[in-house]
Amino acid sequence: MTDQDRKVLLKGFRDGIPIAMCYFAVSFSMGIVARKAGLVPATGFLSSLLTRASAGEFGAYTLFADKASYLAVVIMCVVVNLRYLLMSATITQKLPLETGVFTKILVGCCMTDEVYGITIAYPGYLNPKYTYGAMTVAGIMWAAGTASGIAAGNSLPDNVVSALGVALYGMFISIVVQAARKHWKLTVAVIVACLLSWACSVCPGIRDIDSGTRTMVLTVAVSLTFAWILPASVETDDSKVTGEHD
């Protein structure tokens, strides 16, 4: 590993810390559900380490508890995680063309909402070490949170849980704002998306649709609309990408 790689890996570790904090809080509460599904701390740790998906695992543990068929688990995992298809598709554009299959598989497996968020924010082409660094910290804490939740059987004090839970949003805000202040079109799109998202959460009928599906439909609809009416100046982005890489 070169010095540069080591630096990038460390930066990944550091940026992974806020993610790890949120993961611990979220997966701790998920441990309570996992416990009902018959998982013990060791199997919970293993399961969370291998899967790393909040909504997906939550749905899966509910199905385990109902003794559902394996096919039902497969269908649920595909539907709930469909947004990862979009995320990975955009990541293909962040990787140099000569990237090997093994690296692609590893990077793909690191795609959780949050690690994806910081990966896409990485300047220029991605050095996969950054994503690995973040995923290592975040993944271990995600698994540790589930195991602790199962072991404890009840949650942390309420004020600690809500304080930790908001760390996730703080991270999202940071990623979005840092990009938005450089691209005014993105700022407009973000504001419109937030207003629509709020409207969908109060509109009768629409608000009953699960939040994963709402997020996906809104993301596609808003992104398509803005790509059409306000195409981002991606040409300059691309020259920056190549410039940095060369």
Partner: protein
């Protein structure tokens, strides 16, 4: 439920989820040059994160605390603070609001 079942369940969940993540990386091999598609991909990540944050952040405690936390977080990020700093500040805001 037997232990064997649980392990198959875990394997099915992990394999399916990771397959969804890896598939586009293995299938999409070309650089996308179409301006519309590139713009679409450019918007996706930020729009997803925005939609996941708002209005969900208002449900963590009360809408007022959520909005205040959001405003403080946006202001700090706009001033150029890093991710960890913004996250911690948001946590502190929510924690302090519960002591009031």
């Amino acid at each position: 439920m037997t232990e064997k079942n649980i392990f198959i369940y875990i394997a099915v969940t992990a394999l399916t989820t990771n397959l969804v993540r890896v598939l586009p990386l293995l299938v999409l091999k070309k650089r996308i040059t179409n301006r519309f598609v590139r713009s679409f991909f450019h918007y996706i990540p930020y729009i997803t994160l925005s939609v996941m944050t708002f209005p969900a952040i208002m449900e963590t405690t009360s809408p007022a605390v959520g909005l205040a936390t959001l405003a403080i977080g946006v202001a700090c990020a706009w001033k150029g603070m890093g991710m960890l700093a913004v996250s911690l500040i948001c946590c502190v805001c929510v924690f302090l609001s519960q002591l009031l």
